[in-house]
């Protein structure tokens, strides 16, 4: 944002401008099209879940973002700037297949990676110690990496992605292989980074987790982005005309209206699908005639349902 105050040009970088934008990525491996015009944004201060099946193109997209892969076409920009080397060096990256030196000691490893990413030695050492403490790994600092359990190696990996105080996080499957407690911790850490104003992009195929954790999602299937946006808005948008009605004292109640199909029934009430020409108010009136209405509302699809639906 630029404006003038008494003849002086003031340039203020607002965090809003530090959006990661991906535009028109295309990538083929031989005959196989891995990415077909992939475009989306990762906004600052928000957790963005990158969801798709195996081989959908998540990893290829992330590799293109961090510059490990040079896509056939398309552009990646961060805060409007092209991904030059110095911009790439501000990314905290966690590759899908992980990547640390198996025979190096945990602390030495983090310090080395920090220095590679431009942190000076003493600052890197201090930060590494802090991160190990944050991930409850202080007592393993002097151990050789491959002696740690896979879950702990994963924590070291995320510490490595954070060692240089990144401006952007790109994490490929950060939750895979973690136990429930570690998943909680990881989720909290990611939320913290997002709350601090970073754009955070992470891929996962654990839809319930993404639904619980993310602000935005990007749904990718066979190399194409099929849905993108705020999770709640997407669910609302795809909700359709499904309603749940509960009549108190009469759990057996079924609406007998034309154009209303019963989908499901239980103690929670009855879930129905309305035809396009049916007014929901008619359904409510019918329920009220049967007794006191305990619940009446639209049913939003879960992310899993959404995923299954857009995939068709």
């Amino acid at each position: 944002m630029t404006w003038r105050v008494g003849g002086v040009v003031m340039v203020v970088t607002v965090s809003e401008t530090l959006t990661l934008s991906i535009r028109g990525l295309r990538q083929s491996f031989g005959d196989r099209v891995a990415l077909d015009d992939v475009s989306f944004d990762v906004r600052p201060g928000r957790l963005t879940g990158f969801v798709g099946g195996n081989g959908a193109g998540k990893t290829t997209t992330m590799r293109a973002i961090v510059g490990v892969l040079q896509p056939d076409a398309g552009e990646v920009a961060f805060g409007g700037a092209a991904m030059t080397l110095s911009v790439r060096r501000t990314i905290g990256y966690m590759p899908e297949e992980r990547g640390l030196y198996p025979k190096m000691k945990v602390l030495e490893q983090l310090v080395f990676l920090g220095r590679v990413l431009g942190v000076d030695k003493s600052a890197a050492a201090q930060r590494a110690v802090e991160l190990l403490e944050e991930f409850s790994l202080t007592d393993r600092a002097g151990d050789v990496l491959h002696t740690l359990s896979l879950g702990n190696q994963q924590r070291v990996q995320i510490a490595a992605a954070l060692i240089h105080d990144p401006k952007l996080l790109v994490l490929d499957e950060p939750f895979s292989g973690l136990d429930p407690t570690a998943m909680d911790t990881m989720g909290t850490r990611l939320r913290e980074r997002a709350a601090a104003g970073l754009p955070v992009l992470f891929s996962s195929h654990q839809l319930d987790l993404v639904e619980k954790l993310c602000d935005d999602i990007v749904l990718i299937r066979e190399g194409r982005v099929v849905a993108t946006g705020e999770v709640s808005a997407l669910r609302e948008q795809r909700a359709g005309r499904r309603y749940r009605v509960q009549v108190e004292g009469d759990p057996q109640w079924r609406p007998a209206l034309p154009g209303v199909t019963v989908r499901d029934a239980g103690v929670q009430g009855v879930t129905v699908e309305l035809d396009d020409d049916v007014d929901p108010q008619e359904l409510l009136a019918a329920a009220q005639r049967a007794g006191a209405v305990g619940h009446f509302g639209r049913v939003l699809p879960s992310l899993a349902e959404l995923f299954a639906e857009v995939g068709r």
Partner: protein, 404 residues
């Protein structure tokens, strides 16, 4: 903290890791120590063995004193006065009554007895060569002297007869004199280089494939250009290789100087400069190709096959240098061929068969080749190091490495 990338700093950090990993590697430390021990032993032990003048106590029966005293004098002569073939020895004379009583004394290494013109040197299981030679010489002089004296020759005539002046040898084209055979020097340097290039070449390849196999390379490549990464790797290992070779050569020279073999030092120190210079350039010439051998592999196990040609490229020059040591056209050609020049040219210098300008020309040839191979190696490395799934073919690596 700054995100901007400083090439020098990054190359140094990557090189620093290579060095630190190697310095913590027990195998590397052990091999260096063994090498040092062998070199020091090789220079010090022969010097100790040949250095001192042997001391003997010789039992002398009555009547043999004249010969014994002469042998003692001959053995004690200074190096430049002693006639050809007469060894140095420090002989102590012990007068004994008889051969039997003399040998009964453990101190006497042998007993000399003379009966007329027949002299007997009696020992136990053996008699030292030096002693035998000195006594033989002394006895001959004594006998000749007595005969000549009986014949009435003058003192001067007698001296001429007993110690004739040997003919003076004059060469119109003398070969350079060497304290140690140049063949030996070439063998030692050749073996040292062969070992160092193989060790550190393999170490580069291993380091590359380790990063590839553990996928660290993906983290590094996101933050460091591939060529900087490669430079750091090559430099780190080059520093170690050159350091190790320099330390070993230095230890050898120090060992030789401590034992007083000054002539060896002046001979070896004179050529070791060229040996080292060619080693540095020769190592750098192949270093990037070693990295390629690593990046073509996808697992440590693949290294054996991907480094095969590199091992041959190191082994052939080594055997060529130690086997082709005569001043032949083949040797002259090979001393300019880039692969063999780093050993062959200094070998010819060590043998004194190369003119002063020749190493410079060979050096330029090797340097130009090195620059070309580093370029080719960097491209192949860039084209293959990110292909983690399977072994990469050279052709695919070359195509993919374009512009990387």
């Amino acid at each position: 903290m700054s995100a901007s990338a400083n090439r020098t700093a990054l190359v140094r950090i990557v090189a620093g890791r290579e060095i630190s990993v190697k310095l913590h590697d027990k195998g590397f430390i052990a091999s260096t120590i063994v090498f040092l021990a062998v070199i020091v032993a090789a220079t010090v032990i022969p010097a100790l063995l040949s250095g001192g003048t042997p001391s003997y106590t010789l039992g002398v029966t009555p009547g043999a004193t004249a010969q014994a005293t002469l042998a003692q004098q001959l053995g004690a002569l200074a190096d430049d006065e002693r006639p050809m073939g007469i060894p140095a020895a420090d002989i102590t004379i012990a007068e004994v009554d008889s051969v039997a009583s003399g040998l009964a004394d453990e101190n006497n290494i042998a007993v000399l007895s003379v009966d007329g013109i027949a002299a007997t040197l009696s020992g136990r299981d053996t008699v030292p060569d030096e002693l035998e030679t000195l006594v033989t010489s002394a006895h001959t002089q004594t006998v000749v002297g007595e005969v000549a004296s009986d014949a009435g020759l003058s003192e001067a005539q007698m001296t001429t007869l007993t110690s004739p002046q040997p003919p003076k040898v004059v060469l119109s084209d003398p070969p350079p004199t060497f304290a140690v055979p140049p063949q030996l020097v070439v063998l030692v340097f050749g073996f040292l280089f062969y070992f160092a290039v193989l060790t550190f070449g393999l170490s580069i390849a291993q380091s590359v494939v380790e990063e590839k196999q553990s996928r660290v390379v993906e983290l590094l490549v996101a933050a460091v250009p591939l060529r900087w990464l490669l430079s750091g790797k090559v430099l780190g290992n080059a520093v170690l290789a050159i350091g190790q070779v320099a330390i070993i050569i230095g230890a050898g020279l120090v060992g030789a100087s401590l034992t007083g073999s000054g002539d060896i030092i002046s001979q070896v120190a004179g050529v070791s400069g060229w040996f080292l210079a060619f080693f540095v350039v020769g190592f750098l010439m192949l270093a990037c190709l070693w990295a390629v051998a690593g990046s073509l592999a996808s697992r440590i196990e693949d290294l054996q096959s991907t480094t095969l040609y590199m091992q041959v490229a190191v082994m052939v020059p080594f055997f060529a240098a130690i086997l082709i040591q005569d001043d032949s056209p083949l040797q002259r050609v090979l001393s300019y061929f880039p692969l063999t020049a780093p050993l062959m040219m200094p070998a010819r210098l060590a043998q004194g068969t190369a003119a002063g300008w020749e190493p410079w020309v060979a050096m330029v040839i090797v340097l130009v080749t090195a620059i070309a191979l580093i370029g080719i190696g960097a491209r192949l490395y860039a084209g293959s190091v990110l292909n983690t799934s399977k072994r990469t073919s050279l052709r695919a690596a070359w195509a993919k490495g374009a512009g990387a």
